[in-house]
C-alpha cells in the first residue's frame, strides 16, 4: 500500500465511527429523542450554514432554510434508508430547500459581509493581497448560479467527491463535472492578476 492509500484507509477508519455515531443519533431521533436531535443539529449546523450561505447569498434566509432542513430530518428520520451517507441525505434536503427558497427570492445579491474576515496578519501587504483575493473569490461566487455554487462549495469546502455531489444535487456525475468546469473558469476570470501571480 502506498502512502496515499494508507492515508485513505486511515481516513476511512476514522470516518466510520463518526458515521456510525450519526446513524445511532438518527435512530434515536426517529424515536423522538430531542437530545439526540439537538446533538445532530449542532453537528450539522456549521456545515449547513456554510453551504447555505454560499447557495442562498442572502444571510437572512440561511437560518430559516437551515431549520427547515433540520425539521425535515426530525419529521422524516424514518425515511432515511441508509443507502447513502447520512450527510449526503441531509445535504440533499438542504439543496432542495435552498433551491425552493431561491425561487421566492430569485435575484442574487452580492454581499461580501456574509463572511467574517480574519484579522490582519503580520504583513500588511500580504494581508491586503489576501483580502483582495478573498473579495474577488466571494464576488465571483456570488455571480455564479445557485447550482454552480453548490457544486463549488461541496467540492472545495466539504471535501466531497463528484459522485456524492451528484447524489446530493440529483444529477449525473458528468453534469457535476460540467458545472465545476464552468464555475472554475468563471472563478479564474474573476481573480486579480495573471495565473502566474497565484503560483
Amino acid at each position: 500500500m502506498n502512502l496515499q492509500g494508507a492515508i485513505k484507509a486511515l481516513r476511512a477508519e476514522t470516518a466510520r465511527p463518526a458515521e456510525c455515531g450519526e446513524r445511532e443519533l438518527l435512530a434515536r431521533v426517529e424515536q423522538r429523542d430531542i437530545q439526540a436531535f439537538e446533538r445532530l443539529y449542532r453537528m450539522y449546523q456549521p456545515r449547513l450554514a456554510r453551504f447555505l450561505t454560499h447557495m442562498l447569498q442572502r444571510p437572512q434566509l440561511v437560518e430559516e432554510v437551515l431549520n427547515d432542513t433540520m425539521m425535515v430530518v426530525w419529521q422524516g428520520a424514518g425515511n432515511f434508508r441508509g443507502e447513502s451517507k447520512l450527510s449526503t441525505w441531509i445535504f440533499a434536503i438542504a439543496y432542495r430547500k435552498a433551491l425552493k427558497a431561491r425561487r421566492c427570492w430569485p435575484d442574487p445579491i452580492e454581499d461580501e459581509a456574509l463572511h467574517s474576515r480574519p484579522s490582519p496578519g503580520p504583513g500588511a501587504d500580504q494581508h491586503i493581497q489576501h483580502q483582495k483575493l478573498r473579495d474577488a473569490l466571494v464576488g465571483a461566487m456570488a455571480r455564479l448560479s445557485a447550482e454552480h455554487r453548490a457544486v463549488v462549495d461541496l467540492t472545495y469546502f466539504h471535501d466531497l467527491g463528484y459522485r456524492e455531489i451528484a447524489e446530493i444535487v440529483g444529477c449525473p456525475v458528468d453534469t457535476v463535472k460540467t458545472r465545476m468546469f464552468h464555475a472554475r473558469r468563471r472563478l479564474r476570470q474573476a481573480l486579480p492578476g495573471d495565473l502566474g501571480d497565484w503560483v
Binding site: I34, F37, Q45, N67, H130, R134, G161, W198, V199
Partner: protein, 215 residues
C-alpha cells in the same frame, strides 16, 4: 453520453476536469492515476493544481456568520414534550377532560385534581433542562420565564388560541403539557389585564399565575 468539456476526451481535458477533487483528495485510485500520470508532463495542469489548492485555502478562511437557530427550532417542536410525559398523569388528564361535560359536583372534584395536575405539570416543566442553557453568544434572546398558565377548551383552534394570547399581551413560552396547558409569560405591570382578558375569553377554561403572585 458524457457532455462535460473533456469527456470523450483528450487526456489533458479529462485530467483537468478532475483536478478540483484531486486537490481535495477525493478521487478514487483510477481517477487519481489518470491525474498523476498527466501531471508529470503537463505544466499547465501543474500550475492549475496550485491555483486549485490556493482557492481551497482562501475560501477555507471565510467563516459565514450565521446564528445558531436551535432555540427557534426547538420551540417549534412540541411532540417530545408530550411523549416524554409519564403515564402517571393520564388518569388525571382524562378526569379533567370528562369534567368539562359533567355536573358541577363532579367538576369540583375534577378541579381539585386539576390543581394537583397543574402543580405537578409546572414542577415537571421547571425541572426539565431549559433550552437557555445551550444559548449561544450572539443568538436570539432566550425565552422568558413562565409566570402564568392557561388552558383552552378541547375544540379550540390554533387561531383562536393565538387570538386569545394576542389580546392578553402574554407570550407563549412552553407547552402544551400532558394536560394541554400552556405556559405563558407576561410583564408584571400587565398581569392583571392579561388574566382578565384570558378569563373572559370563551375558549379559555383556566388562566392563573404560577409564580406565587395573586395577579
Amino acid at each position: 453520453m458524457a457532455n462535460f468539456p473533456g469527456a470523450n476526451e483528450q487526456p489533458h481535458d479529462e485530467a483537468e476536469a478532475l483536478l478540483p477533487w484531486y486537490a481535495t483528495g477525493q478521487l478514487d485510485a483510477r481517477d487519481r492515476a489518470i491525474v498523476e500520470n498527466h501531471l508529470q508532463d503537463c505544466a499547465q495542469c501543474q500550475q492549475q493544481l496550485f491555483v486549485e489548492r490556493r482557492i481551497v485555502d482562501e475560501f477555507g478562511t471565510l467563516v459565514p456568520q450565521v446564528e445558531n437557530g436551535w432555540v427557534k427550532l426547538r420551540a417549534s417542536i412540541k411532540a417530545p414534550v408530550q411523549s416524554q410525559r409519564p403515564p402517571l398523569f393520564q388518569p388525571l388528564v382524562e378526569m379533567w377532560r370528562g369534567a368539562v361535560t359533567r355536573p358541577p359536583v363532579m367538576g369540583l372534584v375534577a378541579a381539585q385534581a386539576l390543581f394537583l395536575l397543574i402543580g405537578g405539570g409546572v414542577l415537571l416543566s421547571l425541572e426539565r433542562p431549559q433550552v437557555t442553557q445551550y444559548h449561544a453568544l450572539g443568538s436570539a434572546p432566550a425565552p422568558a420565564q413562565a409566570n402564568m398558565i392557561v388552558m383552552f377548551q378541547e375544540n379550540t383552534t390554533e387561531q383562536q388560541m393565538r387570538d386569545a394570547l394576542e389580546a392578553s399581551g402574554a407570550s407563549l413560552v412552553g407547552g402544551p403539557t400532558a394536560a394541554d396547558a400552556y405556559l405563558l409569560h407576561v410583564e408584571a405591570n400587565g398581569r392583571t389585564r392579561a388574566i382578565a382578558s384570558l378569563q373572559s375569553d370563551r375558549h379559555v377554561t383556566l388562566a392563573q399565575p404560577i409564580d406565587g403572585s395573586t395577579g
